[in-house]
């Protein structure tokens, strides 16, 4: 009999009827222990009086900060504990939806291995709990001793919190903080500057378009706002009204859902964009204005169809059809992102893709591209502090200082997310980590300052541009913070004060409120004809008598949200002629494969479950089967059927991927969707610690990457397009077998037979 064991050797704690049946079944081998946990018979008088009835659900509004999308959520709390996250139906970005990562914020909050008290490395070399005062003292002394040699890494996606770190840097006298953000975001901003003249990430109006070509942007995976873009995709494709065409080397979830998938050779996305431009220009469907705007950027002749097909490794007929459909579409739209922007030629590719919107007259109209506008609360908090640096600046700074100096890392894990930093961390005099977990960075830190997670803290977020409408979302804490964890903004302020350069606010909330107050004053002063950049649109302050009332009203209302009328086309910053730095991707040489050995193009990607690695510590996400490979728990390498046959690799076999500096071993998953000559590996595995569910689970694909590879023209690290070798090592040992979702109707990947018209369950 199978049932009735306690879990992992623990005795059962209750006796029910079922247990008696088991006793009968066990026939005399009745060794079950009978006792009842006394907790079940206890009922607690809480300490504090509450307005909510005992056991009643109280729903509190909050903002999901798991990524920069800014989804508004409702958190169900019962007796002051958070139970469930649901999308706020009126949410500015998400309209009621939440993604898998968003749900799992609860397991981040209640993770058994959270850091909940400040720690400092003692004389024994181990991290030991200390008081906040001691921890801040140690950290501040180190910073104040060498502000010039201090490097700040701020993981805040954007908005006010990043602004606060910038202000911190300027006040304390350190160089500007490094903004830890997705690599393609940096590239996209630069590509948009080249194509449209304005250096903001564009907002794409998928929902009202009728033909969307996504050049690498994995808009239904983990990119920008999966919830918003998923809903927009559903609207786009409802009743087969519109189409999504995905141009991407890897078969992402977006490619899987696209009406058409063009698996171009990795790194040739920009070439394809130029080839498409050539076909469009020749089709006669392009207006004079569009042609002029485009040719101002790309005066050279675009490559012809044959050359494009050759370089991209795509059938010419498919490219031709794509161009024809684009030309016919009423509201076409081209977006760029993801792996297309993460190669060395990412900026050129991104600009070429975005420039197609000029050709198609898709800029600033319904179903087209808009500027990624915001209310500028990052700058409002930053004051006149210098702009934040892109992620790759971290490597440069560390290399420049020979590694010595002080590192302050807030809510980021650069040691896990970027290769080649180990030595610099080793040499750093003091590493200060503001983190809720012992991630790879905090593990090496000398001082760990515990920070609050999403639901525990006051939030002020400027969402990533998805609607083209500016917004500042504000929310109060939902539950009490665990242990001694503090708001990362408050930590920054306390650090500055301890270093003797106090900022003008006691806390992050006060900082945001003061910025709101200043914005009100500037708007009031500017009057109706708003020309002051510090002023908000006048309609937003209408009805507020004074600054205090305005701040109060804004926080009560959950922030400031603009209107559709505030959407606008990108405004060229006085662009007279070709912006400096534009490169025709067709003029770049094709990436050459090293001679002699067969090598594969590595495509690291963010999976739905692990994201950039932050999802790895949540059991829900670890045990979530990846929708395409169906793998749970751990990392995998996606290998194409043809390549696998040639290498003799079967699903589950352990393969070794060898890069220039390192090698990793992981199970292979053979899929019919992988482009021959490429291999996909999810990022986010292989943490040294990061809690019990992530520790040592999977491998870190970032270790294969070349630390010196950069996206040309952007301060981003080029993670796409690295060449690796693949060898088959062995059939997996039992403990190495990938955990593949076994249950199901699926037999040999066939669609189950036996569909029948629905009768609604009627008898």
């Amino acid at each position: 009999m199978s049932g009735g064991h306690g879990k992992r050797g623990e005795p059962r704690v209750t006796i029910g009827r079922r247990d008696f049946f088991k006793v009968y079944a066990a026939a005399g081998v009745a060794v079950l222990q009978g006792c009842r946990r006394r907790d079940q018979e206890l009922i607690e008088s809480p300490v504090r009086r509450s307005t909510a009835l005992p056991g009643a659900s109280v729903w509190r509004r909050s903002i999901c900060e798991q990524c920069g999308a800014g989804c508004e959520i409702e958190v169900r709390t019962v007796d002051r504990l958070a139970k469930k996250i649901e999308g706020l139906p009126s949410g500015f970005v998400n309209r009621g939806g939440v993604c898998a990562l968003g749900h799992s914020a609860l397991q981040e909050l209640y993770h058994p291995d959270r850091v909940t008290e400040p720690m400092r490395r003692g004389s024994s070399g181990e991290l030991e709990p200390v008081s906040w005062e001691e921890a801040l003292e140690t950290a501040a002394t180190a910073i104040a001793a060498a502000p010039d040699a201090t490097t700040i890494v701020a993981g805040a996606p954007s908005g006010p919190l990043l602004g606060l770190w910038r202000r911190f840097a300027a006040t304390v006298g350190t160089p500007p903080p490094v903004h830890w953000q997705p690599a393609d975001a940096v590239v996209e901003r630069e590509a948009a500057r080249l194509a449209f003249g304005e250096s903001t990430r564009p907002a794409y109006d998928l929902a009202r378009s009728d033909y969307v070509v996504s050049v690498g942007a994995p808009c239904l995976d983990r990119w920008r706002s999966p919830v918003h873009l998923g809903a927009a995709w559903a609207e786009l494709t409802a009743d087969r009204r519109g189409k999504l065409v995905q141009v991407e080397a890897r078969h992402s979830l977006t490619a899987a859902n696209a009406d058409d998938w063009l698996p171009v050779r990795p790194g040739s996305e920009g070439f394809l964009a130029r080839g498409l431009a050539g076909l469009l220009l020749g089709s006669g469907a392009v207006g004079e204005e569009g042609r002029a705007a485009y040719e101002a950027l790309y005066p050279g002749a675009p490559p012809d169809l044959a050359a494009t097909a050759e370089r991209c490794g795509i059938d010419a007929g498919r490219i031709e059809r794509l161009a024809a459909e684009l030309a016919r579409a009423r509201r076409p739209l081209v977006m760029a992102g993801g792996s297309a922007l993460e190669g060395e030629n990412g900026v050129a590719a991104g600009a070429a893709a975005l420039a197609l919107n000029l050709l198609l007259d898709s800029v600033g109209r319904e179903g087209g591209v808009f500027a990624g506008v915001d209310f500028g609360f990052e700058d409002r908090l930053a004051g006149d502090a210098a702009a934040a640096l892109p992620p790759a600046a971290l490597a440069e700074r560390l290399a420049g200082d020979g590694g010595s100096g002080v590192l302050v890392v807030s809510e980021a894990d650069p040691l896990h997310g970027m290769p080649g930093l180990e030595a610099a961390f080793e040499h750093a005099d003091t590493v200060i980590a503001c983190s809720a977990f012992f991630d790879d960075t905090a593990l090496r830190a000398d001082v760990v300052l515990p920070v609050q997670t999403d639901l525990e803290r006051f939030q002020a977020v400027e969402p990533d541009p998805v609607r083209g409408v500016p917004a500042l979302l504000v929310a109060s804490p939902t539950v009490a913070p665990r242990g001694e964890a503090r708001h990362p903004g408050d930590v920054a302020l306390a650090l500055a004060a301890a270093a003797g350069s106090a900022l003008p606010w006691p806390g992050f909330q006060e900082a945001v409120e003061s910025a709101l107050s200043d914005a009100f004053a500037a708007t009031r002063a500017a009057g109706d004809e708003a020309s002051d950049p510090a002023a908000l649109p006048a309609s937003l302050i209408a009805g507020a008598l004074n600054a205090r009332q305005f701040v109060r009203r804004t926080t009560d209302a959950g922030g400031l949200v603009g209107t559709e009328e505030m959407r606008r086309a990108p405004v060229p910053d006085a662009r007279a002629d070709v912006p400096v730095g534009i490169v025709d991707p067709a003029s770049l040489p094709a990436p050459a494969a090293p001679a002699g050995v067969e090598s594969f193009t590595l495509i690291p990607f963010e999976s739905l479950k692990l994201a950039d690695g932050r999802g790895a510590n949540r059991p829900w996400l670890q045990e979530l089967p990846d929708p395409l490979s169906t793998v749970m728990w751990g990392s995998w390498a996606e290998v194409g059927t043809e390549d696998a046959d040639r290498l003799g690799v079967r699903t589950g076999d352990i393969v070794r991927l060898t890069g220039t500096a390192a090698e990793i071993e992981l199970p292979a998953i053979v899929l019919p969707t992988v482009r021959p000559g490429s291999v996909g590996v999810p990022v986010g595995g292989g943490h040294a610690d990061y809690g019990r569910y992530a520790r040592g689970r999977g491998v870190n694909v970032n270790s294969l990457l070349d630390p010196d590879r950069r996206v040309a023209g952007a301060g981003a690290f080029a993670r796409s397009g690295v060449r690796v070798r693949i060898e088959r090592l062995r059939r997996p040992r039992r403990s190495e077998r990938p955990v593949i979702y076994g249950r199901g109707l699926r037999q040999a990947e066939e669609i189950p037979v036996g569909w029948a018209p629905h009768d609604g369950g009627k008898a």
Binding site: P11, V13, T14, I15, G16, R17, F20, V23, A30, V31, Q33, G34, C35, R36, R37, R38, D39, Q40, E41, L42, I43, E44, S45, P46, V47, R48, R49, S50, L53, P54, G55, A56, P112, D113, R114, V115, T116, E117, P129, R482, G483
Partner: protein, 183 residues
């Protein structure tokens, strides 16, 4: 990761981490026999951490819902917070030795853990909804007995007796579907 361990006031003899040792086979057989005979009506009155007197409070004019705030409107009847007990007793007999225990708990910010009087074991996986019964006009008395005349509350009915629940549900034409309670 030592989170501030909450100190709690437990009823005598009850510690959540104390588990009985394995019982000898004889007791198992006895238990089996008892199980076969049906639930016993001889219900023990649990010892409480504080000798709270219901009768005195009712006579002083308090109603059930004053402290068990969820009894009519909530899913659970609930227990009053330490803060609200102390709120009244700051004026009323603050020096009484049992009241002192409450005042101490309030000072130390410790919850009080009362022993449940009417227990439906977790293993039954029953989700009882207080307000649904109040809505149907079932009086407190029906399940809890005349608590107003008790000193320390004592069980009068075995609330874990499913037959009794179902009987009442059928008499009152409430649903007797399993999922109504078990889920």
């Amino acid at each position: 990761m030592a989170e501030a361990q909450r100190r709690r006031l437990y009823p005598p003899g009850a510690r959540p981490d104390c588990r009985c040792a394995g019982l000898p086979a004889g007791i198992w057989i006895l238990g089996l026999a008892l199980f076969a005979c049906g639930p016993t009506q001889n219900l023990p009155t649990p010892e409480q951490p504080i000798a709270y007197d219901h009768q005195v409070h009712i006579e002083a004019g308090l109603e059930c819902v004053r402290c068990h705030r969820g009894a009519e409107e909530g899913v659970h009847a609930g227990m009053p917070s330490v803060q609200s007990c102390a709120g009244c007793h700051r004026r009323e007999i603050p020096d009484h030795p049992e009241v002192q225990k409450v005042m101490l708990a309030n000072e130390n910010r410790e919850p009080i853990l009362w022993a449940k009087v009417n227990v439906i074991p977790d293993s039954a996986m029953v989700h009882f909804n207080h307000r649904a019964h109040a809505r149907a006009g079932i009086e407190c008395l029906t399940c809890h007995g005349d608590v107003a005349s008790m000193t320390v509350a004592e069980p009068v009915r075995n609330v874990a007796d499913m037959g009794w629940c179902v009987e009442c549900h059928r008499e009152n034409e409430a649903s007797d579907d399993c999922l109504e309670c078990h889920r």
